[in-house]
């Protein structure tokens, strides 16, 4: 920074302020910066530091926060098998989002991205689950999976077989949750892909056709490379979204059976808030925050190319 190019020399802070004043920018800065800065600090930065601080205390939510216990909350987390399971479950959700949800969304987008009335109808149908509130989808699917009164129970009865209670089964309960998550969010990713596909220039496709490209070649050599930015963005949303799944799990299994279907967030809620271990919950929150930050920054670096540009 010692050599500046162009006509602007390095200015001292005081001189810079004086220049801004002269240009009339200072007033704007003083008027418009504080509200946003104060709100951001108050509602984003401060809670993060507060939670990080709280994670070193044992606190039930009642009384003064004075029981400092060092890193004990973190040590407990490291030992707790249910937390390990919830980390593993969140990883499973990420993998399912990346390798089932996105390919499904991409396939459907390629099938229906052209503007016809039938396609509009399909788009609406596929997008509908995303509009539903998470908690409502959870409740609806818990009725579908119900072996006594639900759809799966009726199917079993019609086939004359014993009803199957998938949400009560340790092996398959999480598979049911993955199914609902994929069902709920594939429409959202499909919409991103459709928007990107509609922006692919028609003349490029025509040119490829003239060059003798077949249907698949057009998909793999023209369409996909041109919407790669959308796929990367979509994958990013899928990963961060999968880390934060909560509302669907609570009505479906509430983390059970035997605490085998918790995500990181439902673990935080159950063991931190519901059981009044606020300090412990804060420690889980800090881990989740670090995971999200690491994912966000490394993804920008690795997948989105130099400078994080899309």
């Amino acid at each position: 920074m010692t050599t500046m190019t162009g006509s602007r020399p390095m200015l001292s802070p005081a001189a810079r302020i004086a220049r801004m004043h002269k240009q009339g920018k200072l007033m704007a800065l003083l008027l418009f910066l504080p509200p946003a800065l104060v709100l951001f600090t108050l509602f984003v930065i401060w809670p993060i530091f507060n939670a990080a601080n709280l994670s070193f205390f044992k606190w039930s939510g009642y009384g003064a926060i004075d029981n400092f216990i060092g890193t004990q909350n973190y040590q407990r987390l490291a030992r707790h098998s249910v937390f390990h399971q919830s980390l593993w479950n969140s990883l499973k959700l990420i993998l399912a989002s990346l390798f089932i949800q996105i390919p499904l969304a991409l396939t459907l987008a390629l099938l229906i991205y052209k503007k016809t009335s039938a396609n509009t109808a399909f788009r609406l149908i596929f997008f509908a689950p995303y509009i539903l509130a998470e908690i409502a989808s959870g409740v609806i699917w818990s009725f579908i999976f119900d072996g006594d009164f639900g759809v799966s129970g009726q199917i079993a009865a019609a086939l004359g077989i014993d009803p199957f209670y998938i949400l009560a089964d340790r092996q398959f309960a999480f598979l049911a949750i993955i199914t609902v998550v994929v069902w709920k969010y594939f429409g959202y990713h499909m919409m991103i892909f459709i928007a990107a596909l509609q922006a692919v220039p028609e003349d490029l496709l025509e040119a490829a056709e003239i060059d003798g490209a077949g249907r698949w070649q057009k998909v793999f050599y023209v369409k996909l490379p041109l919407i790669m930015h959308a796929i990367k963005l979509s994958a990013f949303f899928a990963i961060v979204g999968a880390l934060q799944v909560f509302d669907i799990i609570i009505p479906l299994t509430n983390g059970g059976p035997s605490n085998s279907t918790h995500s990181i967030v439902s673990y935080l809620y159950t063991y931190g808030l519901a059981q009044l271990n606020v300090g412990y919950g804060a420690a889980v929150g800090v881990i989740l925050f670090i995971l999200c930050m690491v994912t966000a920054f490394s993804y920008r670096r690795l997948a989105m190319g130099k400078g994080g540009a899309l």
Binding site: G63, G147, P163, A168, R170, T253, G256, P257, Q275, L276
Partner: protein, 417 residues
């Protein structure tokens, strides 16, 4: 969305109420299970206002979950209510220790205290200080479906100890009937078995000692034995299919529809099995109960009861009217009315006369004669240890952990409390 609206409405209500006069009484209650419950509170409030002109009584209602999660913040803010509903036990102890409650020992004379059963007063006290007034109790019994046990050739009245219950379950099962209906998704219905067994084996003194960490805490052999007894039952696979995906209300409905022979629950089941059944009628006169069986060699008295004590706690800075209103709300006349409306089992010593249902009357009698009334373990132990206990019970039944591991899990949570 509904709960958000409810929450927003309550916050608004509390804010508005906060600006009211200091001597008004603001009560925070949980949403009652039966519609009559809400009206009952409002009627009592109106009657008090008529008798005491110038004092306003306001009830705010929150559903269970929101109540529990909002309470810590609320109690430590200036918008705290004057009195609030309590399940007593460990959470009450935390609140008393944190200094958010008001010691009202001096306001309750010996004559006042005689209105309530001793276990009620004891449940509302911490370190010898009284912090509120008890209102009702819940007592757990083993309900059965007369038609189904008869069909299976089992005489429930002959079930005196745990072995008898195991034998009866086998017999009912061989008749092609589900022996026990269970709401395993909520976990606490499973923990009722675990807790009852622990109370029968260790006795109320043993449970209290474990809570304090004496005699190895929950690693005490009595608790391992309780887990082993529960495992014996679970090994028979006595529950309906899919019981781990069945909530307690749904299970009550299944029992009301005649889908199983036994159901372990409190007095509230009389209403719940009818309301949640597909027919809306439940079992009717086919519903009856026996007390929880004894365990041979156990230290607990078979006449001891097991269940909840509920009432109202007074918050610090509450005015004089609050205590006065609580005495009014829990007086014999109002408690009797609550019993008559089937809202609860009154805890008042002379308030049983309103109970019309013969089964509920028998439960109330058992409760008043009981040498001890053991509080639900998950409530006695507080939020975190209680949840660990419910988890442990559920995992014994699903076969994920051994009785020893279960006891260790609860003890570990207790040590970290």
């Amino acid at each position: 969305m509904k709960s958000f609206c409810l929450g927003a409405a309550t916050v608004l209500g509390l804010t508005l109420a906060g600006s009211a006069l200091a001597d008004d009484v603001r009560m925070l209650a949980i949403e009652p299970n039966v519609p009559e419950g809400r009206q009952y509170y409002l009627d009592v409030a109106k009657a008090y206002e008529t008798a005491n002109p110038g004092t306003k009584v306001q009830f705010d209602f929150l559903d269970d979950t929101s109540f529990k999660s909002k309470l810590p913040t609320l109690l430590q803010s200036s918008a705290r209510p004057d009195a609030f509903f309590t399940w007593t036990g460990g959470v009450f102890a935390e609140q008393a220790k944190a200094g958010v409650l008001k010691d009202i020992s001096a306001d309750f004379t010996d004559a006042d205290r005689k209105m309530y059963s001793p276990s009620g007063i004891q449940a509302m006290s911490h370190d010898g200080k009284l912090y509120g007034a008890p209102m009702y109790a819940a007592s757990v019994v083993l309900w059965y479906n007369k038609a189904l046990v008869e069909k299976a050739g089992v005489d429930p009245k002959a079930i005196k100890n745990w072995e008898d219950l195991l034998a009866a379950s086998k017999k009912i099962q061989s008749a092609g009937i589900v022996p026990i209906v269970m709401g395993g998704k909520d976990k606490w219905p499973i923990a009722l078995f675990y807790g009852q067994l622990a109370a029968r084996i260790a006795g109320t003194d043993g449970v209290a000692a474990a809570d304090k960490g004496e005699n190895e805490g929950f690693n005490n052999p009595a608790f391992i034995q309780a887990g082993e007894a529960l495992k014996q039952l679970a090994d028979l696979k006595p529950f309906q299919p899919g019981y781990m995906d069945t909530t307690q209300p749904k299970a009550a409905g299944l029992f009301g529809d005649g889908k199983g022979a036994f159901y372990l629950a409190g007095n509230f089941l009389v209403g719940a099995q009818a309301q949640n059944s597909a027919t809306g009628k439940g079992l009717g006169d086919d519903l009856d109960f026996i007390t929880f069986p004894a365990v041979e060699g156990g230290k607990g008295d078979p006449a001891d009861t097991f269940g909840g004590v509920n009432g109202w706690l007074v918050t610090k800075d509450a005015g004089k009217s609050t205590v006065d209103f609580l005495k009014f709300l829990t007086n014999n006349k109002n408690q009797t009315e609550g019993g008559r409306l089937k809202i609860w089992l009154p805890i008042g010593t002379d308030a049983q006369s309103g109970i019309a249902d013969p089964r509920l009357r028998r439960i109330a009698e058992g409760l008043s004669k009981a040498p001890h009334h053991q509080l639900y373990l998950d409530q006695m132990l507080g939020a975190s240890v209680g949840a660990a206990l419910n988890d442990a019970a559920a995992q014994i039944v699903t076969g994920d952990i051994s009785p020893e591991e279960a006891a260790a899990l609860v003890e570990e949570a207790r040590e970290m409390r």
